[in-house]
């Protein structure tokens, strides 16, 4: 079986052949012998050419290798070819500022309709006793402000939309 795995900005072609408990793997043409050992819960030990790596499944598209986190996308090689052949024309018009941490909104510095410039402060968030100013990463107009002063927010919450 052959897959294309996307990780960060890299793409790997991985061909696999299962041999009992082990796998013969070709990564971008290079041959490797792999053994997968279940450790505990979602944790595995992967022996690649006798080198042990601690692999932990964090989510469907996220795993950890020796405590480093990787976001992965696995595509069947055939499907990958089809996608590449089809034209794509998506480009994002909106910038959605999301909370990078849980915390408390101390101050909202802009209103809907305001023009903002790159690096202009939009909000002040406090968490773990430190105040952090959240800045706009580009020029634009504030389309929506989704939080208000005094509100508690979680990591990933939408805060401000700029277009």
């Amino acid at each position: 079986m052959a897959y294309v795995v996307k990780i960060d900005d890299r793409e790997f072609k991985v061909e696999l052949e299962k041999k009992g408990d082990r796998f013969d793997v070709l990564v971008d043409g290079q041959r490797k012998h792999v053994e997968l050992v279940h450790r505990d819960g979602t944790a595995f030990l992967l022996l690649i050419d006798s080198r042990p790596y601690r692999v932990v499944l964090e989510a469907d598209d996220q795993l950890m290798v020796n405590d480093e986190v990787y976001h992965t996308e696995v595509l069947d090689e055939q499907i990958q070819k089809l996608i590449k052949a089809s034209p794509q024309s998506l480009h994002k018009k909106e910038l959605v500022l999301r909370a990078s941490m849980p915390g408390l909104v101390i101050e909202v510095l802009v209103n809907e309709g305001d023009s903002v410039t790159r690096d202009q402060g939009l909000l002040i968030i406090e968490a773990m006793k430190m105040q952090n100013e959240m800045k706009s990463s580009r020029d634009g107009v504030v389309k929506q402000v989704l939080v208000k002063k005094g509100q508690t927010i979680n990591s990933g919450d939408k805060l401000v939309v700029i277009e």
Partner: protein, 499 residues
């Protein structure tokens, strides 16, 4: 010795002090907020009393409630840890008034040294060099502009009420002054319950080197050598070590003598830290004196063998210091990395959540002071410091190698931590060479490319997971493809576990 001690703090430092109580056979009491019902410190004491809601202002900063707990539990002494009420004159005074021993200096000494201006006058009078700055607290922007103009930009705004980088701002231009003051005052209020700030000349690229001291109530003062604390990010110490790579035996003697003189000039007792700025020509300036146990005190414990917390108990109980300066010697080298619940790959954003797995490093020369455990949910309300990792080795070179090994072993899942950041520093040639100052991190490691060693391994692991699921689907299993993927099964079990 005291029959019972109350530890009025949380996290790793409360656990540290409670360990000293247990080793000395002293029954211990602690306090907890709503967010800390299952915290490690709550479990580590002999008695634990509820203080109030999670925000510190409603719990760990409540002087009345803490004194009340001490009375209820019949605690004879209170250890304040660091942060919260550790350098709060009102708290020390409330203890004195209630007849409870405060494990730290007298309220008068806290007041003098907490007033960074008055303390500088005292030090100048004692012949210790100081950094130029305001001769009083400052609140009006006009006055601040005037002072800044006088001593010249860049200037440093600092909170009069505490340390740790909170309420601190560097201002390089006049126009930034007003907003920086406002933010600093707001942060200082929130962190120390005191918005007072002052202004000081900002030294370019200095080293931050401090001396640990111990002083008893019988006039004996010793210093326990220096700690180099120049690895800072936004005035927050991240890594400390001893000996300092730049302190020669002669400089050590001079600075140590100055530290002891500073203690005597301020009639200080108990454990404390005299902080100095050192410039490139190795001139040193008195910066301030921390009238508490420092986060980084274990660095000194590892190179001297002295248990600083136990000595605090002894001093407060009126005992004579068991050592004199000539009994003390530095052995080997120690390094501390502060492990915080922050994501270094995302501008050190706080990272809270439940700790899913925790593997602590061990073996020779490794010390871990942790305030968390697997299963604990790190609250958003307090300082992000969750643990301190320390190593000792005969030489600095070996200590760095050992720290790299220990950081490699240390594994925390569920939250992001500063471990990858420390790994980068330990590999950095400037750190390895000992050539760094307080601007090192913000200057050199501002935009860090975190290492991604294992992309290929992750690709192989992902492809194997997918192939196992594809194989079963092809074999005509009645279950859906997703249902038989062993990786996904494992993931589900893991989800259930979290419920």
């Amino acid at each position: 010795m005291f029959k019972k001690i109350l530890v009025a703090n949380r996290g790793e430092i409360a656990v540290r002090v409670l360990r000293a109580c247990r080793e000395m056979g002293i029954p211990s009491v602690t306090v907890y907020s709503d967010a800390d019902k299952t915290a490690l410190h709550t479990q580590s004491a002999d008695e634990a009393y509820y203080l109030g809601p999670a925000p510190a202002i409603e719990s760990y900063l409540r002087i009345d409630a803490i004194i009340e707990v001490a009375r209820t539990a019949h605690a004879e002494a209170i250890h304040p840890g660091y942060g919260f009420l550790a350098e709060n004159t009102q708290f020390a005074r409330a203890c004195e008034k209630a007849g409870i021993a405060f494990i730290g200096p007298t309220s008068a000494a806290i007041e003098l040294l907490g007033d960074k201006i008055a303390s500088k006058k005292t030090m100048t009078a004692a012949g210790i060099p100081c950094i130029p700055g305001t001769d009083g607290a400052i609140a009006e922007p006009e006055k601040a502009h005037h002072v800044a103009q006088e001593i010249g930009f860049p200037v440093l705004i600092k909170a009069a009420g505490g340390g740790g980088g909170k309420g601190m701002r560097v201002v390089r231009e006049r126009k930034e002054l007003q907003s920086a003051m406002k933010q600093a005052m707001s942060e200082a209020q929130s962190a120390f319950g005191n918005p007072t700030i002052f202004i000081e000349k900002f030294l370019e690229a200095p080293r931050h080197i401090e001396f640990q001291i111990l002083a008893d109530h019988h006039g004996n003062v010793v210093h326990l050598f220096e700690r180099e604390c120049s690895v800072q990010r936004r005035h927050q110490k991240l890594i400390e070590e001893s000996p300092s790579p730049i302190v020669t035996p002669e400089l050590r003697k001079q600075m140590g003598d100055a530290a002891v003189k500073a203690v005597k000039a301020s009639h200080y007792t108990n454990a404390g830290t005299v902080e100095f700025m050192v410039d490139r020509e190795r001139n040193f300036y008195f910066l301030e004196m921390n009238t508490r146990l420092q986060v980084e005190h274990p660095v000194t414990e590892m190179i001297t063998g002295v248990d600083i917390v136990k000595e605090q108990f002894n001093i407060t109980a009126g005992n004579v210091l068991p050592m004199q300066q000539e009994d003390l010697a530095m052995m080997g080298a120690a390094i501390e990395c502060r492990i915080s619940a922050e994501d270094p790959e995302n501008n050190f954003a706080p990272s809270t959540g439940t700790i899913q797995e925790m593997i602590l490093p061990g073996g020779p020369g490794v010390r871990v002071d942790s305030g968390v455990y697997k299963g604990f949910t790190v609250p958003i309300f307090y300082d992000p410091l969750i643990a301190k990792l320390l190593v000792w080795a005969p030489t600095r070179e070996e200590a760095i190698q050992r720290m790299k090994r220990a950081l490699y072993e240390y594994s925390i899942r569920g939250i992001k931590t500063s471990i990858p950041f420390h790994q980068l520093v330990m590999d950095h040639e400037k750190f390895v060479a000992g050539e760094y100052d307080t601007t090192f991190i913000d200057r050199v490691l501002k935009k860090i490319e975190y290492r991604k060693h294992y992309q290929e391994i992750a690709a192989i692991a992902s492809a194997i997971g997918r192939s196992l699921s594809d194989r079963r689907a092809a074999a005509g299993s009645p279950l859906s493809r997703e249902g038989v993927n062993p990786w996904k099964m494992a993931g589900r079990k893991s989800m259930m576990r979290r419920m």
